[in-house]
């Protein structure tokens, strides 16, 4: 079981990092989503795996429980990573709509272009 979980984390991380290194916003967001899964599962797994030992206290005193603390941390992490993804999506969308391009890098040419416009703008107005 542990091998399966560890390999899942590894695959998710690898996929996430690969997509993170792409050049457009959408794959990067997908990559971050995959990375979030990986990180959440990683955190969860750090408490050790257990089957049928939910941390719901039983009325019968002899039950054993899995570690509840990582679960509590991961629960909030899941919700927060959703919030983060949402903000990123919105920023990515906004950038795309404003610039008509969803590339995440600034080409050297673009930087020069911006400089040029700054210089020529006053003349343009006149």
């Amino acid at each position: 079981m542990e091998i399966l979980v560890a390999s899942s984390i590894g695959v998710l991380t690898a996929g996430g990092v690969y997509l993170l290194l792409r050049l457009r916003t959408f794959p990067v967001i997908l990559g971050l989503a995959l990375l979030s899964y990986a990180v959440n599962v990683f955190l969860f797994a750090s408490g050790g795996l257990a089957i049928d030992q939910s941390p719901i206290l039983s009325k019968y005193g002899d039950a054993t429980y899995t570690d509840p603390l990582p679960q509590a941390l991961v629960l909030t992490a899941i919700v927060i990573s959703f919030g983060m993804t949402a903000v990123l999506v919105m920023i990515g969308l906004g950038a795309y709509l404003e610039a008509d391009s969803d590339r995440i890098d600034i080409a050297a040419q673009d930087i020069e272009d911006t400089d040029d416009t700054d210089q020529t703008e006053p003349e343009g107005r006149a």
Binding site: L4, V11, G15, L34, P68, V79
Partner: protein, 952 residues
């Protein structure tokens, strides 16, 4: 002894406080402005004079306040003979310069600024000479560099001024950096950053193996500041400053800071071969070279600048000799150089001011037109040349005397001969200053008809010239301060006697040779000047500029490698570095033996694992088709939820599955406005690089997770399990941790979530106001596949589902404390229920029926959660302590009421509000972009159609 302490603080502070005045007082007029500048200087000078008698008796006045004791930095000052000498020079000349500048600056120059800079500089310089802590001294040292930058570049419209200011800052700033290193080493050897302690630790420092690095670093600071060869080139370029600045900073005070530092550190650093050969040689070379260049400069101020370089070299050389007599000569020459050089600068300023030129070739014969200036200039220049009865003669004699018995690499002639040549050149350029400017026939082609300036302008140099003569004729008058200062430099009890006549000594003959030779050289100046002009020589400014350009190009190159605007490159570097660091950590310490066994794998779990892996790989492979990638992402999320459920984490499974739903909806909404395909643009090499990094990261994290899972770790969770029911009143430990044990974290997290929601809302509004709005309006995003966008079936089903979903949400919320569920999950479930309405019946229809704004909901949630926490203060417990009780109402069974539930309500509301606000914002954009608005429940109204058909 400590009586003067508070006064010392006031002296240090007066210029800085005073610097505020001129900027304000300029409104009251130029004279008032100048007077307000003089006031703090006069106050500081008066206080200094109060302390002076004690210092002259040999006492040391100290004052100390701890500042950052952890760093060894304290605001401690001390005043000994050397400090007194420099402090009175700084304040005294400062006062004269204030007067002179009042008349020198024209009406167009912003005088308030000038005086403010001047006082800032004065304070910084004063700080250097009375600091008792070398860290504090460094602070003041850098302040002088900065304030002198402002002063040199005072005429901002002149490119020379700006370039000169930059050059001075670059050179002295670089030297300052080196000096910081040297001072830190020194402080480490001595075990204290207090100057008094360091001065006691001379032997330990000189025998330390760190002595040479510290010496070189400190000397770099001193040499750059005092314009020693090969760093001398910045000083002439700094002459673009207004003349009062040149007279003050670049002859009297700032350039002497390096000399001061060498004098201050003399007891600690001098006395070794390294000191002698580095310092004395540098001084000697600078003295001769500076004098030689000065002789051929046509700009009056450039002549004086190089002459200053030469005299600074002389002082450096004297300190480098390392003998007590040389130290006395150095101290004495500091005073003398100050008097004649400041007077000469002011004279040059007057000439420039009156004739509108500083070019010696265009001047001459001014003695008839400007008799007073002529007198002042001549006396000062003769003193610079070292003519008897003027003070320059006395210290120059002492210098030659010291030089005459100094061996250099076992050669008894090198130093005396070079010193004589230096003196000879000095005589030549001094005579040239007088004869080519003031003597000769009156010309009729001055750019401006000259005459003597008003009294205010020549009063300051005249006073200095009086000092030149008084000290020259009656040197014993200066004995007190020289004794005090020289004793402070050497740390020995000295009693020098300053006399005019020492008898016929080698030094006298050297002087005679110098004067006669200098006169001859001046006579030959015309032809020599032609040779000089034709001779090739390195141009320091060009070299400096090339060096700066190379440094800038280098740093730009480095920046472009690491910071070229490509985010994927930064991420690649970052990830690769993290993986590398992880590997280093693993390789350097290894792993302990595993303590846990593997859990068995059931077949259905293996199938789930295969699904997850296949889906992940497919997302990566097919990510160019964005819709497909989203569907696959959903599969991954569902697999993970199932995994959570299987691995004893029901709460996580619930949360994951509802978040998954919301996330996919959100991404779908966003994708509506974005390209549906990602272009294939990465070259194969880049893909390969990324794949390697990704596999490294994945392998590393996977291995780390495996290592983690195979080992038992100490955990604090046992406490939580044991106290969940007793202390928190709930049996769902995860929920109790969230709302009770770690309620503070949760409180923070819901605030973050709320902020994220508001950020998205704000971004949406910003977008709809910007250029994006135009693009939205003009682009057709619709991809209708069906005429019926709100199908009847869906509308009806979601209407029916709504109350059911709400009840489920309520149920999950209520049972959360004891069973899987709680505010987070309930909020998400209710959000999904509402979203279904938006999707099925349309934005406008749903929006119309919304009774409460989502922002309000976020706010309410946070406030409720916060108030619940605050409520526990009422019972005297810390923030967020929960209380619970059991209530028995007849028709229902006994149930529990806990404040934690109220807190969970806050969580619920915030989560619901934030999620809804995020999706609502995206839908707003859709509506703005022209999505059809349906006010009715369905696009397609069967009843309406019947009517239309009936009409036909």
């Amino acid at each position: 002894m400590d009586d003067g302490g508070p006064l010392l603080f006031l002296i240090a502070l007066a210029p800085f406080i005073g610097a505020l005045l001129p900027g304000l007082m300029i409104r009251a007029g130029r004279t008032v402005c100048a007077i307000s500048t003089a006031v703090p200087t006069v106050i500081a000078l008066t206080m200094l004079m109060v302390l002076a008698p004690a210092v002259l008796r040999g006492e040391v006045i100290q004052a100390e306040v701890d500042w950052l004791p952890q760093l060894g930095l304290s605001a401690s000052f001390f005043l000994d003979g050397l400090g007194l000498l420099f402090a009175s020079m700084i304040l005294g000349v400062g006062l004269l310069i204030t007067l002179y500048a009042r008349f020198y600056l024209s009406g167009e120059d912003p005088m308030g600024q000038f005086y403010t800079y001047l006082l800032l500089f004065q304070g910084a310089m004063l700080g250097i000479v009375i600091s008792d802590n070398i860290l504090l001294l460094l602070v003041f040292w850098e302040l002088t560099s900065l304030s002198s930058f402002l002063l040199i570049g005072y005429w901002k419209h002149l490119p020379e001024g700006r370039q000169g200011a930059r050059m001075a800052l670059a050179v002295t700033g670089a030297g300052g950096l080196a000096m910081i290193g040297g001072m830190l080493i020194l402080g480490n050897i001595a075990g204290s950053y207090n100057l008094t302690d360091i001065l006691q630790a001379g032997d330990a420092i000189r025998s330390s193996e760190w002595y040479l690095p510290a010496l070189i670093l400190i000397l770099l600071g001193a040499f750059t500041k005092s314009a020693q060869f090969p760093f001398h080139f910045w000083l002439p370029h700094a002459m673009a400053a207004p003349t009062p600045v040149s007279a003050y900073l670049h002859s009297a005070t700032m350039v002497k800071a390096g000399v001061f530092l060498m004098a201050r550190m003399w007891p600690v650093l001098s006395g070794t071969d390294a000191w002698f050969y580095i310092v004395a040689t540098t001084g000697l070379v600078t003295m001769v070279l500076g004098a030689l260049i000065a002789l051929f400069k046509d700009d009056l101020k450039a002549l004086l600048a190089f002459s200053t370089v030469s005299h600074l070299g002389l002082l450096t050389m004297l300190l480098g000799f390392g003998t007590q007599a040389a130290a006395v000569a150095a101290v004495f020459h500091i005073i003398n150089h100050l008097t004649f050089k400041a007077a000469l600068f002011m004279t040059a300023g007057i000439v420039d001011h009156e004739t509108h030129t500083r070019d010696i070739k265009r001047l001459g014969g001014l003695r008839h037109l400007m008799p007073i200036t002529f007198l002042i200039g001549t006396v000062a220049a003769l003193s610079m040349a070292g003519i008897p009865l003027f003070n320059g003669f006395l210290s120059k004699e002492m210098m030659l005397e010291e030089a005459s018995h100094t061996d250099w690499f076992s050669s008894p002639y090198a130093v005396p001969v070079m010193a004589t040549i230096g003196a000879l050149l000095s005589v030549a350029y001094s005579f040239r200053f007088v004869s080519h400017v003031f003597l000769g026939p009156v010309r009729d082609d001055y750019p401006h008809k000259p005459h003597d300036p008003p009294f205010g302008m020549w009063a300051a140099p005249a006073l200095l010239v009086v000092l030149v003569i008084v000290i020259g004729v009656a040197p014993f008058l200066a004995e007190g301060i020289v004794t005090a200062a020289a004793s402070a430099v050497t740390g020995a009890d000295l009693h020098p006697h300053l006399k005019i006549w020492h008898g016929v000594t080698p030094a006298l003959w050297m002087s005679v040779i110098a004067v006669v030779g200098g006169a001859v050289l001046l006579a030959l100046h015309g032809p020599l000047d032609k040779i000089w002009a034709a001779a090739p020589r390195p141009e320091a400014k060009a070299i400096f500029d090339r060096l700066m350009a190379a440094i800038v190009a280098l740093s730009r190159g480095i920046t472009e490698i690491g910071h070229n605007g490509a985010i994927s490159r930064y991420l690649a570097i970052f990830t690769a570095a993290s993986v590398g660091l992880g590997w280093v950590a693993y390789a350097s310490s290894g792993l302990s033996a595993p303590t846990r066994g593997l859990l068995p794998v059931e077949p259905v779990i293996a199938v789930g694992w295969i699904m997850l892996v296949v889906a992940t790989v497919s997302v990566v492979v097919m990510h160019h088709h964005r819709f497909r990638a989203l569907v696959l992402l959903g599969i991954i999320g569902l697999s993970i939820s199932a995994g959570f459920a299987y691995l004893s984490a029901p709460d996580l499974a619930l949360t994951q599955i509802s978040v998954e739903t919301v996330t996919i909806m959100l991404l779908l909404l966003a994708l509506h406005f974005m390209p549906k395909l990602t272009p294939r643009e990465s070259p194969t090499g880049l893909k390969f690089r990324d794949a390697v990094i990704a596999l490294g990261a994945g392998g590393g994290v996977g291995a780390l997770a495996y290592a983690f899972m195979m080992r038992d770790i100490e955990t604090i969770s046992d406490y939580h399990v044991a106290n969940s029911y007793e202390g928190g009143g709930g049996t769902n430990v995860v929920n109790v941790i969230l709302v009770d044990f770690r309620g503070y974290d949760t409180f923070g997290e819901i605030i973050v979530l709320g902020i994220a929601g508001l950020v998205i809302y704000a971004l949406m509004h910003a977008l709809l106001d910007g250029p994006a709005a135009r693009r939205l309006k003009n682009t057709d995003f619709s991809q209708d596949r069906s005429r019926d966008r709100h199908p009847l079936m869906m509308v009806v089903v979601t209407r029916v589902l709504m109350p059911i979903a709400l009840v489920v949400g309520l149920y999950i919320f209520l049972r959360g404390h004891n069973e899987p569920g709680g505010g987070f999950v309930a909020g998400l479930v209710v959000a999904i229920a509402l979203l279904m309405q938006y999707m099925a019946s349309g934005f406008a229809w749903t929006q119309e029926r919304k009774r409460i704004e989502y922002h309000t909901m976020i706010g309410l949630g946070v406030v409720i959660a916060g108030l619940t926490g605050v409520g526990s203060w009422l019972s005297g417990s810390p923030f967020l302590t929960s209380a619970y009780t059991y209530v028995h109402l007849p028709p229902i069974e006994e149930f529990e009421l806990a404040t934690a539930m109220l807190f969970d309500l806050g969580v619920f509301l915030t989560v619901l509000g934030a999620v809804m606000l995020m999706l609502y914002s995206l839908s707003r954009i859709a509506r703005f972009a022209g999505a059809t608005v349906n006010e009715g429940p369905m696009d397609y109204d069967p009843g309406l159609k019947d009517e239309q058909e009936a009409e036909r």
